[in-house]
Amino acid sequence: MAILVDANTKVLVQGITGKQGSFHTRLLKQYGTKVLAGTSPGKGGFEVEGVPVYDTVREAVEERGVNASIVFVPAQFTKEAALEAIEAGLSPIVLIAEGVPVLDSMYILAKASEKGVTIIGPNTPGIISPGLCKLGIMPAHVFKRGVVGVASRSGTLTYEIAAGLTKAGLGQSTCVGLGGDPLVGLSFIDVLELFRNDEETKAVALIGEIGGNAEEMAAEYIIKTNYPKPVAAYVAGRAAPPGKRMGHAGAIISGRTGTAESKLEAFKKAGVEIARRPSEVASKLKEALGSP
């Protein structure tokens, strides 16, 4: 088992004829992801990497039975592409673009929640259930099928920590890139909830950063629900000054909220293992799982 995506996920690539879209379609197929269709308005009837291209999402759904989507269109067109996928009932929908206007995200997320559709991102590397399905742009070679569920707000740091888990022999069940924007589809709590019921996931790694209070809320959730699996957390940005955006649109300490300390403090209270260095996530979880 895995969460959100697995071997049965039939993928649509929106924006498949673009540079990013075609490049990653090749990598997704190489990985073994079932990419069954692509869309690009006006280019219906063509093929990219052996994948048929449609003008509309509807056609792709009707003719190829796709059930999930990865969206490679530029930020200013992401809202439209996402709405088209939401209305067609695809889920999850992965929004790769960085810099989607926050009002667009607000509208996308409200529509998705009305329709019961899961949005991953925007500004995310995507999601991967190693060996089963990659629906994202992550470098596949650092991931390996295993027992740790990963939820992260940051792309390359996910690769870093996943590589550590792989090296430690733990591997990953599913890694979800929540996204680095202020508004994103999935929260740590949503993913923790999914991992709770996933038998294969024996432990969870949370990778947070400064800004917002998603980590604090996750800590509260862990306490409140007496979370049954060991959790380790790494929070980036202890050295970040207030008021400056650190790369991600969402990574900013504003006023008295969003500091790394407050997040770490909250996790500590919840009994979460705190990793001071990225490599400690693997060692702490290994210890918690009692493996040699």
Partner: protein
Amino acid sequence: MKLFEYEAKDIAERFGIPRPKGIVVETPEEARRAFESIGRPVVLKSQVLVAGRGKAGGIKFAESAEEAYRMAEALLGSEIKGERVSRLLVEERIKVKRELYVGFVINRASKRYSYLASTEGGVDIEEVAERSPEKIVKGDVDPLKGLQEYEARYIARRIGYRGRQLLELGAIIKRLYDIAVSYDGELIESNPLVETEEGTFVAADMKLIIDDNSLYRHKEYEARAKMAGPEMTALEARAKASGLAYVDLDGYVGIVGNGAGLTMATLDLVKEYGGEPANFCDMGGTATIERMIEAVEIVLSNPRTKVLLMNVLGGIIRCDEVAKAIVKVKEKMGFTKPMVIRLVGTNEEEGKRILSEAGIDSFDSMEEAAMKAVELARGA
């Protein structure tokens, strides 16, 4: 991007929100004429983007045209919290009965606009929230429905208004929401929104922050957003022009990484090992070679940088290309500052060979690299 007060008020006026009569001036003489045209006691407000300009002496009152001239002379060209004053907003002084707060802000948890309204305006709303939370009315707006007139009136009712005032205040609240949506506002607030002695409402101050990612929809501000902000250092401005996420810090270990999270984690490690980062420089998760060269150059040209620490986890970018680029920068700049590189990922063996031939240290683990960089910086 934060707009100047007068810009936000111009927008408010177009949306039908009452504002004090006001004129933007750039010289003392213009301030004198503005006083005469307004014909009443005025307030001169420095148009700067920093918070707390009142406390910092950026707001003055004038009873006569001569006084307006003198005050303007003192304010124009002065600096408020490091920002130079080049314009003043000269406004009629409003007779205040009560100061309110009304604002909309994007709420990350509920993924909606939250409204805040209070009869305790004129001060920091966070202070009010701590001191007397019962004085704040708040809630969320459904983005699919938008804020309805009746909801806006209900907010006015909940902070205590009835009759004609409820209708007027409700209309202002609704218009503020309309501005937020029309201008991709991350935050819009009127603080204070003044209830005058006559019982009407006037936006005595207005703040509007536009989401930077939406600026392509707001062409009138787009060009300005690309310019260096007053708070930016020269290197930050250069990096911004090259599309790098760069922040200057006070330390001495120069840091370049690919991806915001990884770069932040690198900073944290440097601190963990007793060093101080000179900067944060994120090339982006899918960095190109050109961008990388620019990043290294910027960080090395920071005079505080004693050692360069570069952390690259090559996913899509290939390590051999990264290595070649690093060698190229070193040759070009003729630099003597030590470089510590952490390089793993696609084609990493080839990348490491290229680096070692050029006499540059490279590591597999970011922890080891950070430790080495701190050690070198301390010896330097």
